[in-house]
């Protein structure tokens, strides 16, 4: 068989077909609302955000300090063992300079680009990144491998949400944490 020997289906509609009314349209705009349960691990994670802290969960079998925290280890398939605070600093694993919004609409000419990033959090196991935003510096000044620190909302404005951190900003030169190694940079253990 050859594709070329068949009359293929699929008829392209043109924008003009809609403008001229050749194609009639009807619209549905769903207005669904959800109230999600966060479970124990993410519930505590977000409650700690309200306090301006980041908390991880540790599995003693594989020795991972995990972000986001989870009550079971998906690799060992057993319960995780303890809570552990990690730092609110980290290293940029990667980032983008985004000129589109979530629905692919374009940012306006006066709107700054969004700077989504993966940030590996200090104190968590190597490679344990979270997605968050960068800010407070020119997009061109950010580099992969750069040390950054969370900028929190004012305590009274926090709601226990991932957005209680506004963004991560570059750590000013000279104030960098010298304990770069991650496992030994473990935070204080809590119950």
């Amino acid at each position: 068989m050859k594709l070329e020997d068949f009359e293929l289906g699929g008829t392209q509609l043109k924008a003009s077909d809609f403008k001229t009314g050749k194609v009639l349209t009807t619209e549905w705009k769903p207005d669904l609302k959800y109230a999600w349960d966060n479970g124990v691990a993410i519930g505590r994670y977000l409650a700690e955000f309200k306090e301006g802290r980041i908390i991880a969960r540790v599995c003693h079998k594989c020795d991972r300090i995990m972000l986001p925290p989870r009550m079971f280890c998906e690799l060992c398939f057993r319960p995780t063992d303890e809570w552990m605070y990690v730092k609110d600093t980290g290293v940029i694993n990667t980032f983008s300079i985004a000129k589109v919004n979530w629905d692919a609409s374009r940012r306006g000419p006066k709107e700054p680009p969004l700077l989504p990033a993966v940030i590996e959090i200090d104190g968590a196991s190597e490679g344990m990144g979270i997605m968050h935003m960068l800010g407070e510096a020119d997009p061109k000044d950010f580099k992969i491998g750069m040390k950054v620190k969370a900028v929190w909302k004012k305590p009274e404005d926090r709601t226990g949400a991932i957005t209680d951190i506004l963004y991560f900003k570059p750590v000013a030169a000279g104030t960098e944490d010298k304990n770069k190694g991650r496992p030994e940079g473990r935070g204080k253990e809590v119950r």
Partner: protein
């Protein structure tokens, strides 16, 4: 492993278009009918039907499998729908293979459909809901963000430039000029890609495949039936699929480990020891240009970080030593997600039969591979085929 041999014996496809007049059911019917005609079968000959289609949110119909069943020829038959994000279309023949290899069916119709245009203002909006609802959605992410994040990390790890990557888009859009289903084929330059609109640096408009409507279908059969139906069965000799965690930000973004895991499963089954020598032709998933390179490396068709060089050297061109995406891929033919994966399977089917027309690669390829990937950069699907 006690499984029966399975072959592809027929194929059908629609044009890929930005917005089709046809409904999803009608597109499915067009592709299915063509697949049956291509091997002189009727629906009565079909024992079972499988269907692949991606998020229900595109259509706003929250039971797409059931909704599309009429168009897929499934009424009154055993029928199953599968969905693994962008990996769906290459999972489709795997799903059909289960039925035939196990002995449950002798002939299975495998259909893949996507109609993305129903979702407004843009189907990208539907992807917001694949992210974690409390730890990620409040940041209002798009899929383009995380592709940009992955592409940046890939570039940084291996010292690859945007121009190196843009060559993939140039090659695939040019290859697609010979594909009768193509939506965005064209003769463009690296400079065109680099100067197209920056969406999420480092991703520009022409680094990305389009949103599309379209459908594809194949007929697969057990060895005994396949030999009766055609002189040129194309054997599904290896299947592989593997999933990684949805905690995507905790992974090495420079290397698709889940693709390697899926590839190893398929290669073991097909008895492939040296994929770079034994695979003559491949259709890795290329929704973004860097993904073709990323996936070639995950498929172990070249060492890590070296796929861009193979592209620059013309090795992956249609007349090169290892043609990659001779169809024109998602970047050129278009990307109706589930249908794209099956389009890639169909391209390898036609290439191995020497029936790819102007797209035919020289040298009588005997072994080919199609691969797709999906969800939160975590699902790998691989099929190895031989003539």
């Amino acid at each position: 492993m006690g499984m029966r041999k399975v072959a592809i014996v027929g194929a059908g496809i629609t044009k890929f278009v930005r917005r089709a007049q046809e409904t999803g059911k009608e597109l499915s019917w067009q592709a299915s009918k063509m697949a049956l005609e291509s091997c002189d079968l009727t629906l009565d000959d079909i024992d079972m039907v499988t269907l692949g289609t991606a998020p229900d949110a595109f259509d706003g119909v929250h039971m797409k499998g059931e909704y599309l069943a009429d168009g897929a020829g499934a009424i009154g038959k055993p029928y199953m729908r599968h969905y693994v994000g962008g990996g769906t279309g290459v999972f489709s023949p795997i799903h059909g293979w289960f039925h035939v290899a196990s002995g449950m069916a002798d002939i299975c119709l495998v259909v893949a459909e996507e109609k993305m245009s129903s979702c407004h203002p843009h189907p990208q909006g539907a992807f917001l809901t694949i992210f974690d609802h409390t730890t990620e959605q409040p940041l209002m992410p798009t899929l383009i963000w995380i592709f940009a994040l992955e592409m940046h990390r890939y570039m940084e790890t291996y010292g690859i430039s945007k121009a190196d990557i843009a060559q993939v888009s140039v090659k695939n859009k040019r290859n697609a000029m010979d594909h009768p289903s193509a939506q965005v084929a064209g003769n463009i330059t690296v400079e065109d890609v680099l100067s197209s609109e920056t969406l999420c640096w480092p991703v520009n408009r022409l680094d990305i495949s389009p949103a599309s409507d379209g459908a594809a279908a194949i007929v697969i059969a057990s060895e005994r039936v396949a030999r009766r139906l055609t002189d040129k069965p194309v054997w599904i000799d290896g299947i592989g699929h593997s999933i990684d965690t949805a905690y995507w930000a905790t992974r090495d973004l420079s290397y698709p480990r889940y693709v390697e895991t899926a590839a190893r499963m398929a290669y073991d089954m097909a008895g492939i020891k040296e994929p770079d020598k034994e695979i003559h032709i491949a259709e890795p998933y290329d929704p973004f240009d860097y993904k073709e390179l990323h996936h070639m490396e995950g498929l172990m068709l070249c060492p890590r970080g070296k796929a861009a060089q193979l592209t620059a050297d013309g090795i992956t061109a249609r007349d090169g030593n290892m043609p990659i995406c001779p169809s024109g891929g998602a970047l050129g033919v278009g990307n109706p997600i589930a249908a794209t994966g099956l389009m890639k399977i169909i391209e390898i089917f036609l290439q191995l039969r020497g029936e790819a027309g102007k797209r035919q690669v020289p040298g009588n390829p005997r072994c080919g591979l199609a691969q797709a990937w999906g969800d939160l950069m975590q699902m790998g699907t691989v099929v190895v085929m031989r003539s």
